[in-house]
């Protein structure tokens, strides 16, 4: 037991459970044909479809092209959500008046599902990048605001007092003391926002647009190609994991003092 670290163990279990899943999949399809290929394609079929979509354009674009379009929309949505959401959250916590004033609006918006905005987005922006980006924004925004606000509200008063004693203006206290102290919580907010945004994006792409991973899945349905759907779904899942891992890893470089805190 003592040979592996906790992290090593987690990786081992992860590999194990994925292998079990893959084995079951192979058994159910290629080996014993428990399930018809029309319902569940075999791994070999999916890999062939992968190779095909990577080399041959599918609805005008190869797989990397679809990925880039999805990433672009998602990126814009998350970026704007961060640029707007972090200041809003910070000021919610920093200035009680601001919060009292804007919170009811925020609460209301917060409970409208992101997909309810699709018709509005289409009317505003047509079938453009902005449409899906807006849905991503709506999905990502609340988590960022809430966690930024929490992060700032949780900063102990003694740090603010110390900053005042040593001559810091409120603005410099905010930048140099409060924001770094709130950063871990803001980071958590970003992580949630990033995954919420990613899910909302795929949803939006199913409904609007002519490119992107969500669109690819929708086309799979249209062409009755389960393998295409699988390619899309697996790509979406892997990219999601990849992005989350990158964000998680970046925390130790952006917030170096957290590394030593353990």
């Amino acid at each position: 037991m003592g040979v592996l670290t906790d992290r090593g163990k987690a990786t081992a279990y992860g590999i194990f459970s994925l292998s079990v899943l893959l084995t079951l999949w192979i058994c159910a399809t290629s080996l014993f044909q428990w399930i018809e290929p029309r319902v569940l394609p075999s791994p070999a079929q999916v890999i062939r479809q992968f190779a095909w979509i990577i080399t041959e354009p599918f609805s005008g674009l190869r797989l990397p092209g679809h990925i880039l379009f999805s990433l672009e929309r998602w990126g814009w949505g998350v970026l704007t959500a961060g640029l707007v959401g972090i200041p809003v959250g910070v000021f919610f916590a920093w200035n009680p008046w601001f919060k009292t004033f804007l919170n009811p609006v925020f609460e209301l918006i917060h409970f409208i599902p992101p997909f309810a905005y699709i018709p509005l987005a289409v009317l505003w922006f047509g079938a453009s990048t902005a449409t899906q980006a807006m849905v991503v924004f709506v999905a990502a925004f609340p988590a960022i605001v809430i966690n930024s606000q929490l992060g700032v509200a949780q900063v102990e008063k003694i740090y603010v007092d110390a900053a005042r004693v040593f001559g810091a203006s409120p603005f410099r206290t905010l930048c140099r003391v409060v924001l770094p102290a709130a950063a871990p919580s803001i980071y958590t907010g970003l992580r949630i926002a990033i995954s919420n945004g990613w899910m909302a994006l795929v949803g939006a792409e199913l409904v609007v647009g002519k490119v992107g991973l969500g669109f690819m899945i929708a086309q799979g349905q249209e062409n009755a190609s389960v393998a295409t759907i699988f390619v899309g779904v697996i790509t979406i899942g892997c990219l999601g994991v990849l992005i989350d891992t990158l964000v998680q890893r970046s925390e130790r470089y952006v917030l170096p003092w957290r590394r030593v805190a353990g």
């Binding site: 110390a162 900053a163 005042r164 004693v165 040593f166 810091a168 140099r176 003391v177 030593v260």
Partner: protein, 278 residues
């Protein structure tokens, strides 16, 4: 014996004709929440700290010592009374009154160097001067090797050294210290008490020092202010001899000196009355 101590105290009181005190808390009362209904933390406390004096405030925990200090630092406004520096209203907090907090309050996201330079940067000291003062403080507090460390990498004692360095680097006119050694282990505390004693003898800082330790009060103080339980009032002010041999050495040696023992007994008696009375 208690009587003779009392006499000594009144004998060394300064005449009222002197220059205004460096820091004066005048008739400070503090309520948290509405007056008459909230928490009455401090009631009509007056303390004068003359230039170069080391005043120690002792009292049972919860009696309003920290409140008195935050008011003195300008971090809280008193409900009544005023805070004066050199006889003038002190106003908002600033680098003339440096503070060492009980829980260190070092900025966790900044290295030792950045923490110590913080106040200098906020007050526009030149980069060269910042560096020079930083190096001096690192040397004084024995922190040279920890310049690039984050607070979370340091022991409690080291963290408090950084906090003291951060306060001293401002070359403050007044140093406010709120139970600075309360969170430290006994050995570290002893060493830092001796260093603060030595610093005060060499540099004649003007200090308002808060503690619940009677021993610390007798060892460090030129004057000890005993507070009552909450709402904190001033129960007694006791002048201690300044230039006595036992204050120049180790605290263990000082604690064996008959004079020290007598002061400790007297002050402990006063504090004890407040703790046991209901």
């Amino acid at each position: 014996m208690e009587q003779s101590v009392g006499k000594m105290a009144s004998g060394s009181t300064n005449p009222a004709t002197e220059a205004p005190a460096k820091l004066e808390l005048r008739n400070i009362s503090k309520w948290f929440g509405p007056v008459g209904d909230g928490v009455h933390a401090v009631d009509d406390c007056s303390i004068e700290v003359k230039k170069g004096e080391f005043i120690v405030v002792v009292g049972p925990s919860g009696c309003g010592k920290s409140t008195l200090m935050t008011v003195g630092a300008g971090l809280e406004n008193p409900t009544q009374g005023e805070v004066l520096v050199d006889g003038k209203p002190a106003g908002s907090p600033g680098p003339t009154r440096s503070v060492v907090f009980q829980k260190f309050a070092l900025f966790p996201s900044e290295t030792v160097e950045q923490n110590i330079k913080f106040g200098l940067q906020m007050t526009g000291v030149s980069a060269a001067e910042q560096e020079a003062r930083l190096v001096e403080q690192l040397k004084i507090m024995g922190l040279e090797l920890f310049r690039k460390s984050y607070p979370s990498e340091l022991s409690g004692g080291m963290q408090q050294r950084v906090a003291i360095a951060r306060a001293l680097v401002m070359q403050p006119e007044i140093l406010l210290m709120d139970e600075p050694f309360g969170a430290l282990d006994a050995q570290t505390r002893t060493i830092l008490q001796e260093e603060v004693q030595r610093l005060h003898r060499e540099k004649h800082y003007t200090v308002l020092f808060i503690t619940h330790s009677v021993e610390e009060a007798v060892y460090l103080g030129d004057r000890v202010v005993v507070m009552t339980k909450r709402p904190g009032r001033i129960k007694r002010v006791i002048d201690l001899p300044r230039d006595v041999i036992w204050k120049t050495g180790d605290i263990e040696l000082a604690a064996e000196h008959p004079e020290f023992i007598e002061f400790r007994r007297e002050i402990w008696g006063l504090v004890r009355e407040e703790i046991v009375s209901i």
